[in-house]
Symmetry: C2
Subunit: 184 residues, 2 copies
């Protein structure tokens, strides 16, 4: 099974580091050429599910521009240009919650949009999280930090209370991974 | 907690039904105005995890332009303009696999991008799926239909073989839901 080839690309919209759109000339395995395949470039991002030393999940209640009302959410944010995903994950956890974590487990890298691109999500599970600093978030949204039990997180996921795709994904993956962690 | 208000919007890139980009003038709860918030409009889409009468998951191996190599994938596709998500889900299952299903369970609606929009994902679990027609897919990608056991799907999810964010999400959610279905 052959992947598509990018023959050429040019920018059709440049909004700086948050959004660029390109047109790609693409060749399919059949030889067919698509002359104007739209391609969206947005920054890669991290999400972190952090679990404290006493087993609580660090979860936000917050707003997001694309969502109605509030949603439950995880720690997360865009990678700085050239930043390593794990470094970004540790930075975001510290900035948004004031916590650091003893153990960091990568639990997935996923492309957001199969057709348009739109960056990659890097997911981390952080365990034995503990407070080390004051919260120092630069986010524009209001957010409230909650400590939820595993059962509360499971219930909220089932009820659709994590309303954004990457948040639902990392919560579902983190619950699977945490269930398989060695108990210490 | 207040959500942001859209004061006005205008189109900055129009590529028809597959991609439009707008600039929004947005007001934050603090009163702060953001004059040029980029907003991406791509079609809503469905994904379907279909499980056959004998308990096999209908899964594809396929390519996608944004992915390296092949990936495991679920049934899915864009909604036609004005199309109901469940109707689209049944249509995509039939077109892509030739199967229909006796029971359809909505297992989530998620916004793709909290900042930019980029449409919504509608997820369905379809059970007691059975062949009713020949495959009639209009997709540009090559794809191969597989019948996987629940254990194989769990293993593939853990191994990162579903490489696209919505596919990983619906698989993780479907596994949770299937485990709670009444046995018949």
């Amino acid at each position: 099974m052959q992947t598509w080839k990018t023959l050429s690309r040019h920018t059709v919209l440049d909004r700086g580091k948050f959004l660029r759109v390109e047109d790609h000339v693409v060749q399919l395995p059949s030889g067919q050429i698509i002359a104007d395949w739209p391609w969206v470039i947005t920054p890669d991002f991290v999400n972190v599910v952090a679990i404290t030393q006493s087993g609580e999940y660090l979860i936000f209640r917050q707003t997001k521009y694309s969502l109605q009302g509030t949603s439950l959410a995880t720690v997360g944010g865009y990678l700085e240009p050239g930043e390593d995903p794990l470094v970004a994950a540790k930075r975001e956890l510290r900035e948004e919650t004031g916590y650091a974590a003893a153990q960091w487990i990568p639990i997935g890298k996923y492309a957001v949009d199969g057709n348009r691109g739109a960056g990659n999500a890097y997911f981390f599970l952080a365990t034995s999280a503990h407070p080390v600093a004051a919260i120092d978030a630069d986010d524009l949204e209001e957010q409230e930090l909650l400590h939820l039990s595993r059962a509360e997180v499971e219930e909220a996921l089932t009820a659709g209370e994590f309303k954004l795709l990457p948040w639902a994904t990392i919560i579902a993956l983190a619950l699977r991974h945490e269930a398989n962690l060695p108990t210490t």
